[in-house]
Symmetry: D2
Subunit: 332 residues, 4 copies
């Protein structure tokens, strides 16, 4: 039985707590939160202890820790838990600063720790079917990737201001997916960024509508399109083009029905909440973490993946701001 | 150059005249119509003569005749033209009465004539691609066929009253398609017929909503669904299920676009007029007729096909009326 | 907390046990099975008692009983549990004999019992979205329903021989769905039945390929197409046509991807197992039962629904065998 | 009757000659070609004269001239015909050199001539339906455009070497479509260009796989993805995202069928030839030209459109080569 502690009893902490409760071979031992009521509520629901971060990090009855706290706590808590010998799962990003991430990963490596990063899309069944088709050679060598990712609407302004900006907060998932699909590291990044959805976002120094082109050493390219607005739901698509064909993974509608009348043929909007869209992916992600803790296998999504995605975000922001093609080597 | 005469300058006569004008190796020589203005207008547009039916039938400069007159004239005109040595193309049905059709076909056979019947759907590119997939063995042996055919709206009541009823007027096309797809003659017919669209249709002794099951000697089955109402356009689908899979041919929308908003994903309605939906099929049908006249090849859709579809219509009507399974042998 | 006992620890019993364990407000108290090992295994997995049928029926710590035993035990066990004051959930069918079902329902009524029938498709989210669109008036008055239901392959011959035949075993689900979608009782049934998949099925006196037309008093019609073969997966579709449009609920593919190459655009086959296809529906069904036990509300799918579907099955079989339209009143 | 002369009897000249023959109110008077056999063959097919370029430019019986010669003759012939008072239709591009194009447009303006440019996609029915949906306000204000355009395979190397490069030869169509959909001029261009399909293309100094981001003054963006390879046919898609939703126009398959077997659900490849894909668009384009000649209305696609698309091509090439964001004002 893999024994789990959770740091942070907020929205994503609750999602993971539920996933733990439904994963065979895993049990939730303890939860911590600076808001004690939140911690108590979660502990009550799943029958576990409320403890402090230190208690969880040091506990002899905890094998793995899920870090679901605000971003600015991630790096310290990763280091603390890794030093205490715990397997660590951390929500993205590790930190908004590349150097801090590098330092954190060094600590993890030094102590021989295991760090899994929460890139939930890598655990989505459809995206994995897509990757499987590519790996099976059905489209030949990958040449071009197109990723469309649009949120139903912008987050609250106070979230925006703490988010690190659209590239580090939203596009970071697409950078990771692009790396996964390209199968080769990115060398050059160009980007354009606009404020089209809400002027307040621009006043906060951020963007809400971006396009990025990534390019690898061998010339493979990926395009990412992001918007903080999609009236029709949470738009999540990947298209991969190769020497022998193309493959794509599509969206998930609220229901699999179509109504035809004099005005046309209408299907329902897309699922419009990331937790609903990725329910299966979140569960599979936690199951993967539990399995890694149990077997000692390396995690499928690592701290290194987190670092590389963050570098792409920094490069994209630099490109959009400075109007030039940016090399990832500038941040390596 | 294949020289063509047309009997009947109405809607379908005009469609065929245009097709002739666009078919290489064919020329329109003459047209007749009891309404001389109609004949003159068509003759003017395509630069051909206005003549009487007798003149066209006897003309030495006419190789083939398209019969586009009202149904009650078909059989007589087929016989007249065939006896005069003309290749004949006739719109369905030959006649509403099975015995009259049989007599007509006997005359054609007796004089060694060539009669092609206007089952336009047999010339549709998508349906032929479907048939091609079946012939190529992609779905194995055909087991079950499902045909959906719904008109955008009912025809005028005076058309209904002269039409011979829904089975002989509308379903007759589906009976022909079912025979084509089944690849085996039908032995048994059961049907249900309702009036759901317009009570006036019921008062005229007809139906507007029907379902038919056809069954061959080896047990293959076809289902036909017809309605005189489809708010979303002209609904024309064929699905064929076989031992190794299924194949289907779908509908044609007004445009290949989709608009997604907060209420859903909407595609335009279907093309809602049979002449627009089957533009390509009508052209291919006339090209096939011209080719048969030129080469002497037997027509792809024959008088025999017309007779068999009519027998299925009669059997379906009998089944719906008498509440029993009807054998086609009762009408053979 | 609603306390549940399960009679029968076979495949469907296990599915329901898992559903109970994931339903808030429900707990599994006991299981019985003539095969003690099966009962013990299930009891071990979910931490409940192994008891006899009598013990469960009489238990003071059981509120509701799920009957998942072979069909020939259903009616007796329903009566026993209902008499003992338990809320009962029973898998379809109640019995293969109409008179036995009527007698059973009389007992339930007499003792004021509550009986829910396991028509799982009524709890499917897509079918409910379809029904919701109809109820919202989006397609106007329902006129015609088309239900396609094909199994990936035939069940074992010993299952076939005990099944009561395709109409009572397989089509019975579609009869129930047809009634649900039509919103009006069926008056007349015509059917055709063939053996196309496996001659052994014919030797056992059964069929594997059927079409049925149902007709209500007002002339609404439903067509059901069944086959015991579908190489491409579990084919489950409903199309409803009304005065203002049509609505349909489609299939579920293994994954939401498409691969395009020189040979075409390919999507994966359908889910090919009813438990995978209807995972959500089975869970919702059990949640509905638990809710009914808790609140005393009448079940969404009743013994009466089971009886009416069985009568349609008997009528369809009679029609296919005798070659005539059959009135449901013959079995009322 | 609008009287037309054609310069150039090659592939596209033949397409337009056929379109003229099928356009009411238009007649083909004469054709010229340096290869006299080609001119004679076309003249024979459509019953027109063979003349020299000078004879056509000066002819009193010619109202409009279609320029279908090689690119390096376009600008001179436009000037000659415009000076002679002929309405001119010219295939894209006017010239590969921006300054030469500007000079040519000055001449046309000076003599009060009318110049229509052959951007065939602007006449495609589906793309016009898309534009119509946008104009009708269905997706609100346009924010982001995504254009995917992939050729089935690269053209011959000698075509590549004379083409002016992928941006001026292939992407130029997409630049025009992007401007059309954005409804606002582009200010900034970034691009990446690779050789992934055929190293010979790289040796010729060209690219075969490119991505471009266009950005307008108000921050609207368009992404264009091009490849000289698409095994599955001619891939032509437009997606437009706005403040109230998104709209897209899709591909055209060889046939509207789907075959489902144990390996999946397969639709045929796309039409794989631009003339087949855009048959309707070419006909509509010529009809538009004829209509403009007849009514004196300004052409829907102008020399100015040709210039602006060429500037975008030059800017994209510069960006890809120099690794920087390029302003279109650099070429204005």
């Amino acid at each position: 039985m893999v024994r789990i502690g959770i740091l942070g009893a907020g929205r994503i902490g609750q999602v993971h707590a539920r996933a733990i409760s439904e994963t065979k071979g895993a049990t939730l031992v303890a939860v911590s939160d600076v808001f004690e009521d939140a911690a108590r509520a979660l502990a009550h629901e799943y029958g576990c202890d409320v403890r402090t971060v230190d208690e969880i990090a040091e506990a002899s009855d905890v094998d793995g820790v899920l870090i679901c706290t605000p971003t600015d706590l991630h790096a310290d808590q990763i280091e603390q838990c890794a030093r205490a010998g715990k397997a660590v799962f951390c929500e993205k990003p590790i930190d908004l600063d590349i150097e801090r991430v590098k330092a954190c990963l060094s600590v993890v490596e030094e102590v021989g720790g295991s760090l899994m990063l929460g890139f939930n899309r890598r655990y989505d069944a459809d995206f994995n079917a897509l990757k499987g088709a590519i790996n099976a050679g059905r489209i030949g060598d990958v040449e071009m990737v197109t990723i469309t990712s649009r949120d139903p609407g912008p987050p609250p302004m106070d979230y925006i201001s703490r988010s690190g900006g659209i590239f580090k907060d939203m596009t970071i998932h697409d950078f990771d997916v692009a790396r996964w699909m390209l199968g080769e590291e990115v060398e050059t990044v160009v980007a354009q960024a606009s404020v089209l959805v809400d002027p307040e976002i621009g006043k906060a120094g951020d963007f809400d509508s971006i396009n990025v082109i990534l390019r690898t050493a061998s010339g493979k390219q990926a395009v990412i399109t992001n918007s903080r607005r999609a009236t029709y739901g949470y738009d999540q698509r990947i298209e991969v083009h190769g020497s022998k064909g193309k493959a794509e993974a599509g969206n998930t509608h609220e229901a699999r029905i179509e109504v035809a009348t004099g005005t046309g043929f209408e299907r329902p909007p897309l699922l419009d909440f990331f937790m609903t869209r990725y329910t299966q992916a979140y569960a599979a992600e936690i199951a993967a973490f539990v399995s890694c803790v149990e077997t000692g296998a390396p995690p499928p999504t690592t701290g290194e993946d987190g670092l590389r995605a963050l570098i792409l975000a920094e490069a994209a922001l630099t490109s959009a701001t400075e109007g030039r093609a940016v090399k990832t080597s500038e941040f390596a």
